[in-house]
Amino acid sequence: MLLDALRREAPAEPGPETRLADIPPAPAPARQPAQAASRGIAVTARDLRKSFDGHAVIEGLDLFLPAGGFTAVVGRSGCGKSTLLRLILGLEAPTGGRILLEGPESGPRRSDPPKRIMFQEPRLLPWARVVDNVTVGLSGHGSRAERRERALAALAEVGLSDKAGQWPATLSGGQRQRVALARALVGRPGLLALDEPLGALDALTRIGMQDLIERIWLAQGFTALLVTHDVSEAVALADRILVVEAGRIALDLRVDVPRPRRRGDPDLARLEGRILDHLLGAEPNL
């Protein structure tokens, strides 16, 4: 039954991804002094619609995410931000409109870098050792030894080299989420979607993870899309923040604060206040 469901949903992916010539070229990601040459995927959504059982969740949304940018999507729960992310990843088929993903300079049919997602829960395979969980991110690539080597390198990147042979059950919540990050990064993604990946972590672990994600993003230059309801997390990490309300983009803000950003920076605090005011003011019932 499970596999039946897979078979049904699988074809949803390649459909909306066809290349169109009329999409404007991606502007270079601004204000990233130390960023590596971008190998990110640019995302364009045109008049995107999605409804579940006749109930519209996304209503005519237009969006352009430049390659290599770090965009955060914030909004109240139920505003459609997670659905937006799942549509971009191809986990759901849109009811209307289209989504275009464009790889970096993909000239003569180079295989595009993969899109990866980090979920709110780590979703590690409990029956696979940490290193084998990371090789899941390399499904169908290279020899066994090669995959293992790359997985160990990715684990080193998130600072978990010494846990490679352990079972996931023996790790702490933060460590598990770092393994999930290594799994997402090991395939060198062009687009990394983060669906509230730090929501279940304690405050200090969260800050550590935010720094880790920022550092890796700067080094690898993938396009990052972070969905969160934590506005301070959004302003700390993103160079652009989209506030989603009732299935549309209500606010599109640039975060012009240089990196590395200091926690408690007044500019960030002002921006956070503005977004929170907007979110709180947007609810007429309050």
Partner: protein
């Protein structure tokens, strides 16, 4: 936690055996003192002697071998079919719609009630025993395999899909390992049913095997052999259970609930 001392470890190993040993000693004492007639209940030493005798003539080994072979072949056939059908119905809705209702109906028939029918069909040959054991083993394996596959975390399946696993990979890396704990539960139930079915079948209609040996002994009032047969059943059941435990520990080492202390 305190490190177990050698003495503590010995105590932990010995403790489960304390009760059986005390019962055996009490039993021997009761029979030796004449409190119990050994026409109804032989003393443990008589049973040991009967075992020695049966082992010396080779009768015991022949019967044990015949019974084990029957049990295992019935288990392989019934368990194999149950496992395959459980997988099919767990993975394909069509297959489930087609067969599950029928299987559930048949499941509610006590399989031992088919003995008269089976004797009519197969006589008292090997096929009758094989059929009954296979039928008895089929249901627990089927039901637990199906349940195991259904209860695999859909979040992990989605993860596997996003990470580009092929259908085969998804099955071998996510679905099957996820279903394994439940499949093992089915395996242990099935092993119990396997012995039970075989003994009943051999007791009622057979010309060899442990059940037959016990029935023959009853005809000649050899109570010690009857008790010997019963004790062998207990030992075989315990052996099967211990083997499954070892297998579980090896296969489910990732699960804290199964990790050996």
């Amino acid at each position: 936690m305190m490190r177990p001392t050698p003495l503590g470890r010995l105590r932990d190993t010995a403790l489960p055996w304390l009760l059986p040993v005390v019962i055996l000693l009490g039993w021997q004492a009761a029979v030796s003192a004449g409190l119990v007639s050994n026409r109804f209940m032989p003393a443990p030493l008589d049973v040991v002697r009967a075992g020695w005798e049966a082992g010396r003539t080779g009768e015991l080994w022949t019967n044990l071998w015949v019974s084990t072979l029957r049990a295992l072949s019935g288990f392989a056939v019934g368990g194999g079919i149950g496992f395959a059908l459980g997988l099919a119905n767990g993975l394909s809705r069509l297959s489930e719609r087609l067969t599950d209702t029928s299987v559930q109906m048949v499941r509610n028939v006590p399989h031992l009630s088919l003995i008269p029918l089976v004797i009519l069909w197969f006589g008292i040959g090997e096929e009758a025993k094989l059929f009954l054991v296979a039928l008895g083993v089929f249901f627990p394996i089927y039901a637990n395999t199906l349940h195991g596959i259904r209860s695999v975390d859909p979040a992990l399946v989605e993860m596997g899909r996003v990470y580009g696993m092929s259908r085969t990979e998804l099955f071998t890396r996510v679905v099957l390992p996820g279903a394994l704990p439940s499949i093992f539960v089915g395996l242990r139930y099935a092993l119990g049913i396997m012995w039970l079915t075989l003994i009943v079948a051999e007791t009622i209609s057979a010309s060899s095997g442990l059940g037959y040996m016990a029935m023959q002994a009853r005809e000649f009032m050899l109570v010690d052999v009857v008790v010997l047969a019963i004790l062998i059943y207990a030992a075989l059941g315990k052996l099967a259970d211990a083997l499954t435990r070892q297998l579980e520990r090896a296969c489910l080492a990732w699960n804290p609930a199964y990790r050996s202390a």
